[in-house]
């Protein structure tokens, strides 16, 4: 019964939302103008299947479209797909494409383009990060020019969400058949903007796509992306009116921006977090008591202050923050040095334990967390030596190999995505090697469960298990911080941190005229 409701709900949402942007025209935002935006690192990869960091996702979002799109409440809305429908067992999904959509070169979007794109993402040779993130797709086929059918390896309720993945932008089949690598320096998408010039380290310019499928959008004529590597300089540029929108900033600068005239500081809670990965298959962390002891020394509220400057929420050793759909509010762990000492003694370390914690230098909050935990853990007998290293060295030598290091992760679109990325035995990045069969079973049951209440119960159980067994210490989630000039309208921070929707942005009264 309920499962039918949910599917009808999904399909219903799809249809009703298709008409929304046109209704929104009633309060028509002003058209035209140039938006100058700053990013903290160059978007050096504009190949949509290979993009890896937020400035790159921003550029590919401007130039391309997915089948579906993630809303700020983490549910989906139609993009290139107008509606979708699963079969009763959730193993086959049929997507109807929006008719009349064209790529920037004028050629029409058809089901063949979708099929070719998904196949290219799934091809290991492409080396797309999307390969493990677009859902358990076994086969994708064109039913007719505007209908695509996905056959899955198993039941999966989250496919429409998975297809919002940042690398699953639809590209033309003819580019894939021809020179796929050409997308590294050129672009041919269906997105609201077209690539006008690409000098990654200096400036990237996109111009309005007059043939965008929604005739009302985008509102801006042009967007210029400039690189400001220094956050203080970037904030100064925002305060002096050199830039209109700033992708992301740090707590210190946020406070300065919030006080400045004509600047609106933006903030939203997110699921972005730092953790301390514990190698559960090696000494000493193969003993759950050592992990529990470490979890009990961490003052979570204090960590939010140390690493996030207070702009965050405390974590409870599960990767789901309150920004996620299936978040369970478990009472927060409080520091308990006496119990931690006892657990450590029971595990065979009555005189304490020596450990080396590796923290890469990017972002610098990794080291801050390392040092904070070193000081907090000392009271219980953990003698932690914090070793910092350049990020490239860390990726090469420690990441996924070490058994005690600081990790940093963006928010994922779904609970399933973050558990399958990090904590199940078959996780794409199984960094902790927790390999808990009971936990795997719960996650696998949840991903095929269509009953919302049952699914909530399963994910609650998964969070309880992680909270109790501590495969990694997750003590703080970051809020996302940014800023804009007050005349920028229609822009809102998305909790996912990698969805931007600049097609909704426009320039209101007081915006400077820029040629």
């Amino acid at each position: 019964m309920l499962s039918v409701t949910r599917r009808l709900f999904l399909a219903g949402t799809a249809i009703s939302l298709a008409g929304l942007p046109r209704i929104a025209l009633a309060e028509a935002p002003k058209r035209g103008g140039v938006l100058r935006m700053s990013v903290d690192q160059a978007a050096s990869v504009i190949h949509p299947m290979l993009a890896r960091v937020n400035p790159e996702y921003l550029v590919t979002e401007l130039l391309y479209s997915n089948l579906t799109r993630l809303k700020p409440d983490m549910t989906v809305e139609p993009d290139l797909a107008m509606s979708w429908e699963p079969n009763a067992t959730l193993t086959e999904w049929t997507f109807k494409l929006r008719p009349g959509v064209t790529f920037h070169d004028g050629s029409p979007l058809t089901a063949d383009d979708v099929v070719a794109t998904i196949n290219a993402i799934l091809d290991p040779k492409t080396a797309s990060p999307g390969r493990t993130n677009v859902g358990p797709i076994k086969e994708v086929a064109a039913v007719d020019p505007l209908t695509v059918k996905f056959t899955l390896a198993g039941a999966y309720a989250d496919l429409p969400v998975a297809l919002t993945y940042l690398n699953a932008r639809i590209v033309p089949a003819k580019v894939i058949a021809g020179d796929l690598a050409s997308l590294s320096t050129t672009a041919n998408g269906t997105g609201p903007f077209k690539l006008a010039s690409y000098e990654p380290d200096r400036r990237i310019v996109v111009e309005r796509n007059p043939a965008y499928y929604d005739p009302a959008r985008p509102y801006l004529d042009r967007i210029e992306l400039l690189v400001y590597p220094d956050r203080t300089a970037e904030a100064s540029a925002m305060i002096s009116g050199e830039i209109d929108l700033l992708l992301t900033t740090a707590p210190g600068e946020y406070e300065r921006l919030a006080k400045a005239d004509g600047v609106k500081a933006l903030r939203t809670p997110s699921g972005q977090f730092l953790n301390i990965n514990l190698g559960c298959d090696q000494k000493p962390f193969n003993d759950v008591r050592v992990r529990q002891a470490l979890a009990l020394v961490v003052d979570r509220e204090a960590t939010v202050g140390f690493v996030a400057g207070g702009y965050g929420t405390p974590g409870n050793d599960t990767p789901l923050s309150s920004a996620y759909h299936f978040y369970k509010n478990i009472p927060l762990k409080k520091p308990d040095i006496a119990t931690a000492k006892k657990l450590l003694a029971d595990a065979g370390y009555p005189n304490g334990i020596d450990l080396t914690l590796v923290a890469s230098d990017r972002p610098s909050t990794r080291t801050q967390l390392g040092v904070a935990v070193r000081e907090m853990a000392a009271a219980a007998g953990f003698r932690i030596n914090v070793q910092t290293m350049p990020h490239a060295t860390y990726l090469d030598q420690v990441w996924k190999k070490g058994n005690f290091y600081v990790g940093f992760y963006n928010m994922q679109p779904t609970a399933d995505a973050v558990f399958k990325l990090l904590y199940t035995s078959d996780a794409a990045w199984n960094e902790t090697h927790w390999n808990n069969a009971d936990f795997d079973a719960v996650i696998n049951a949840a991903r095929v469960e269509t009953d919302e209440a049952k699914r909530t119960a399963l994910y609650a159980k998964a969070q309880d298990m992680m909270n109790a067994e501590v495969p990694s210490v997750i003590s703080a989630f970051f809020d996302l911080l940014a800023a804009q000039r007050s005349y920028v309208e229609g822009y809102a921070l998305h909790p996912r941190g990698s969805v931007f929707r600049l097609d909704m942005a426009s320039l209101g009264a007081g915006a400077p005229k820029r040629a």
Binding site: A42, S44, V45, H47, R52, P124, K125, A127, S128, P129, R131, A181, S184, T185, E199, P200, D201, R202, L226, V227, Y228, P229, D230, T232, A233, E234, S236, A237, I239, S240, E242, I243, P390, H391, A392, T393, L395, D396, Q397, W399, W429
Partner: protein, 315 residues
């Protein structure tokens, strides 16, 4: 200036660049991270890594890789950036041109400030003017770049709104705006360089003013202005040429902090990004281009020196 001397200088320059290219290549071989791994980042699978290593020729012996690279460089082909997929040569040269614009502007501003100040300090030796000028110059050289830069940006951009705080606009696209954006970084760099040049100028002027020919000029009854400007200044300027040539090296390598703070996409920043992402073709091209620029500048300085002072041509 004999032709042989000239030829020897040129050969020395070419030799320097070749040795540097070998050093750069050797260093990139021992960087503590695999280029393929850093390129593919956290999503690399073992198969893809292996495929990429083969494509990049990372498995070949170092001398073979060096030979292949040197042959391409000789024809002006620095390869394709592993990071951006764009040709490295044009990217690095564009970055160099922005850095050179900054460096040359800074040197001109420095000379315009430091030479008169140095002369004035020398003429007023030991008096308040001398102490004041020296103090300000030392302050400029003692403060780290990022402090000077931040202070200037706070005052001139944030508080008084005279100049844009940061950012780069090409003077070719919009001359006025380009100069306005260049002003703060040039001022910052000049404040640091002024002390070098001024100090050299002051001591040289003092030395020259004590020399016999100046005394002769004075005894001849020439007005002090003629003595200083026509006779003393010419000789005192000589060592400044050397200082400037050395400062070009500092400007190209050490200017990275300025480029970061003022968001100028110059060669320092390009090289920094290349190193942190292990983008080998960019590291090699950037380092080589910087070394070549340094070698050329120093050769030019030597030649200018030899031209100004015939005693230098010691062959």
């Amino acid at each position: 200036m004999s032709l042989a001397w000239f030829a020897r200088r040129l050969m020395l320059m070419v030799y320097t660049v070749i040795v540097v290219s070998m050093l750069v290549f050797a260093i990139t071989q021992i960087l503590p991270a695999d280029a393929a791994q850093s390129l593919l980042g956290e999503n690399a699978t073992p198969e893809v890594l292996a495929a990429l290593r083969t494509r990049l020729g990372l498995g070949d012996p170092a001398w073979l890789q060096y030979g292949r690279w040197a042959r391409h460089v000789f024809t002006g082909d620095f390869g394709i950036s592993m990071r951006t997929s764009l040709p490295v040569g044009p990217e690095m040269l564009a970055a160099l041109s922005r850095s050179l614009l900054l460096a040359v502007s800074a040197i001109l501003v420095t000379l315009a400030i430091a030479v008169p100040l140095g002369v004035v300090a020398a003429l007023r030796q030991g008096r308040l003017t001398d102490t004041g000028v020296s103090l300000i110059a030392y302050l400029g050289v003692s403060l780290p770049e990022f402090v000077t830069a931040t202070l200037l940006a706070l005052l001139l951009a944030d508080t008084w709104h005279w100049l844009p705080a940061t950012g780069y606009v090409s003077p070719l696209e919009d001359f006025g705006d380009g100069i306005r954006h260049l002003a703060l970084p040039v001022l910052t760099v000049s404040l640091i360089l002024v002390a070098h040049v001024m100090r050299m100028m002051r001591s040289e002027t003092l030395d020259v003013l004590k020399s016999d020919y100046i005394r002769a000029a004075r005894l001849k009854g020439l007005p002090e202005r003629t003595v200083v400007f026509r006779h003393a200044l010419r000789n005192a300027l000589l060592p400044v040429v050397t200082i400037i040539a050395l400062d070009v090296g500092y400007l190209l390598g050490g200017i990275i902090v300025i480029e970061e703070i003022f968001a100028i996409p110059g060669i320092g920043r390009a090289l920094m990004v290349a190193i942190t992402t292990r983008d080998l073709p960019s590291i090699q091209a950037g380092a080589l281009i910087m070394a070549a620029t340094y070698a050329v500048t120093n050769t030019l300085a030597d030649m200018a020196y030899a031209f100004l002072d015939p005693r230098i041509r010691y062959d």
